[in-house]
C-alpha cells in the first residue's frame, strides 16, 4: 500500500433529497491508494448514496469530491473520463441482457476506450478466467446464476482497467450459497492491490479483507476505524446497536 497517495477524498460533502431529507451530512473522508474500505450502516443511512456520489451517479449539493486528483463534482470535469477510471459493481448486477457475457465485458473498452476488438476480447477472456467463468463466455446473463452474473459484472468493471473499484452491496441480492464465490473474487482483487470501497453487510469480509471500516448512520460518519477495533470495541452506542442487530439478529 502506498500511504501517501489519496485516491478518494470527500471535503464537507452535503446532499439533500428534496428540501427536508438531508441524506449526507458534512462528510469528510479519505481513501488511500490500495486501501480497502468497507462502508456499513443501517438501512437508510446513506451508504448507497455515498458510494454513488463518487462517480456522480448521484449529484451532491455542497462540498467537494476528489477522485485520483480530479474533482468529480466540478462542472469543468469530464465526468465520463473520470467514470472510465472508476469501476462500479451494482447490487443487481445490471448486466446487459441482450449481449453475451463476452460482449458485456468488451462493450465499454471497445466503444469508450477504443481498444482494438481482438485485444479487448483477449483481455475479457483473461478476466473471465480470473473470476472462474471462462466456460460461460458465450452465455447470456439470464442463463447465469446471480453469483455468476455478479462475477461477470466485476470482470466488466475491471476490463476498463480502473484505478478504483466501488461495490454497492454486491452480495445483497444473492442467494446465501452464492455469496462466497463473489466475496472470494473480491478478496483476490483486494490482494492484488486494487483500491476498493465496498458497501456491504458482510462483516466477515470486513474483518478479513478491509483495511478500514466506516460506519454511517443518518448520513453521518459515526465511526472510521480499523476493522478489529470496530468489531471488538465500537465507540458509539449506535455502532454497538448496529453490530448487535447484524451479528445476532435473533437476539434482540
Amino acid at each position: 500500500m502506498n500511504d501517501n497517495v489519496t485516491m478518494i477524498r470527500f471535503n464537507n460533502v452535503n446532499k439533500w433529497y428534496g428540501r427536508d431529507h438531508h441524506v449526507l451530512k458534512n462528510l469528510n473522508l479519505e481513501v488511500k491508494q490500495g486501501e480497502v474500505v468497507v462502508v456499513c450502516g443501517p438501512s437508510g443511512s446513506g451508504k448507497s448514496t455515498l458510494i454513488r456520489t463518487i462517480n456522480q451517479l448521484e449529484a451532491i449539493n455542497d462540498g467537494e469530491i476528489w477522485v485520483d486528483g480530479i474533482q468529480a463534482n466540478s462542472t469543468k470535469t469530464n465526468i465520463n473520463k473520470l467514470r472510465e477510471e472508476v469501476g462500479f459493481v451494482f447490487q443487481h448486477f445490471n448486466l446487459y441482457p441482450h449481449l453475451s457475457v463476452l460482449e458485456n465485458i468488451t462493450l465499454a473498452p471497445i466503444n469508450v476506450k477504443k481498444v482494438p476488438a481482438a485485444q479487448a476480447k483477449q483481455q475479457a477472456l483473461e478476466l473471465l478466467e480470473r473470476v472462474g467463468l471462462l466456460n460461460k463466455k458465450d452465455a447470456y446473463p439470464s442463463n447465469l446464476s446471480g453469483g455468476q452474473q455478479q462475477r461477470v459484472a466485476i470482470a466488466r468493471g475491471l476490463a476498463m482497467n480502473p484505478r478504483v473499484m466501488l461495490f454497492d452491496e454486491p452480495t445483497s441480492a444473492l442467494d446465501p450459497e452464492m455469496i462466497g464465490e463473489v466475496l472470494a473474487v473480491m478478496k483476490q482483487l483486494a490482494e492484488s492491490g486494487m483500491t476498493m470501497m465496498v458497501v456491504t453487510h458482510e462483516m466477515g469480509f470486513a474483518r478479513e479483507v478491509a483495511d478500514r471500516v466506516i460506519f454511517l448512520d443518518h448520513g453521518e460518519i459515526v465511526e472510521d476505524t480499523m476493522p478489529e477495533s470496530f468489531f471488538t470495541s465500537p465507540q458509539t452506542d449506535r455502532a454497538k446497536q448496529f453490530l448487535r442487530q447484524i451479528l445476532s439478529p435473533m437476539d434482540q
Binding site: 465520463n80 467514470r83 472510465e84 451494482f90 443487481h92 446487459y96 441482450h98 476498463m160
Partner: protein, 248 residues
Amino acid sequence: MNYHWDWGVFFKPTGIGSEIYLDWFMTGLGWTIALALTSWIIALFIGTIIGVARTLPNKIIANLAAGYVALFRNVPLLIQLFIWYFMVPDYLPESLELWFKQDINPATSAFISTVICLGLFTAARVAEQIRTGIEALPQGQINAGLALGLRLPQLYKDVLLPQAFRIIIPPITSEFLNVFKNSSVASLIGLMELLAQTKQTAEFTANLFEAFTLATLIYFVLNMSLMLLMRKLEKRVQVPGLIALGGK
C-alpha cells in the same frame, strides 16, 4: 337478397389497352406497397429520433419532441393529407412549387405528399412506442452504462435501443400494419392505389361487391403475412428475461 355474384369479372378486359380488371388491382397493390414501405422507413427513422429525444435529460429537446407528437397525433390523418397536398405546395419556393405542380406527373406529386404525410404521422406514433420501450428498461441499465463511461449516444445505440426495440415489436407491428391500411387515404387525392382501383373497377363494372371483396382479401392476406413475418422476427431476436433483470 338477389345479387348475382360474378367472380369472372376480374378477368374481363377493361377496354383500356389489353388490360383486365385484375391488372388494375395489381397496379393498385404495387402503389399501396410502395406508399406503405416508403412511409414506414420515414416513420421508423424520424420516430426513433423523436422517441429518443423525448427521453433525453435536456428538457427543451424533450418538450419539442413532445410537441411534435401532440401535433401529428391529434390532427386527423385526412386533414394532414389535404394540408400536405393542397396547402404546403403553395408556400414552397416558386421553382419547387412549379416543379411539384407542373413538371412531375400527378401520380408522383400525390405519392410524394402521401408519403410525407403518412411518414410524419406514423413517426409520432412510433416515437411513443420507442419512448415507452426505453422507459420500460430498469434504471440500472442506464446506470451501468454511465458508470462504465459510455457517452449518451453510445448508451442509446448499444444498450437502450437494442432492448427497447425488442420490447416494442408487438405494438410496433400494429403500426406497421396501420401504414398499409392508412395508405388508402391516397385514393382521395387521386393516386390509383388499391382502394382507388377498387372503386374504379366497381364503377366500370357495377360489380361492387366483388371488387370490394377482392380488395378486402388482398389487404387481409397482405397484413396477415406481415404479421407472421414480424412474429418470426420477434422470436429470432428474443432475449430471455429481458425485463426480469432489474436493478437500479
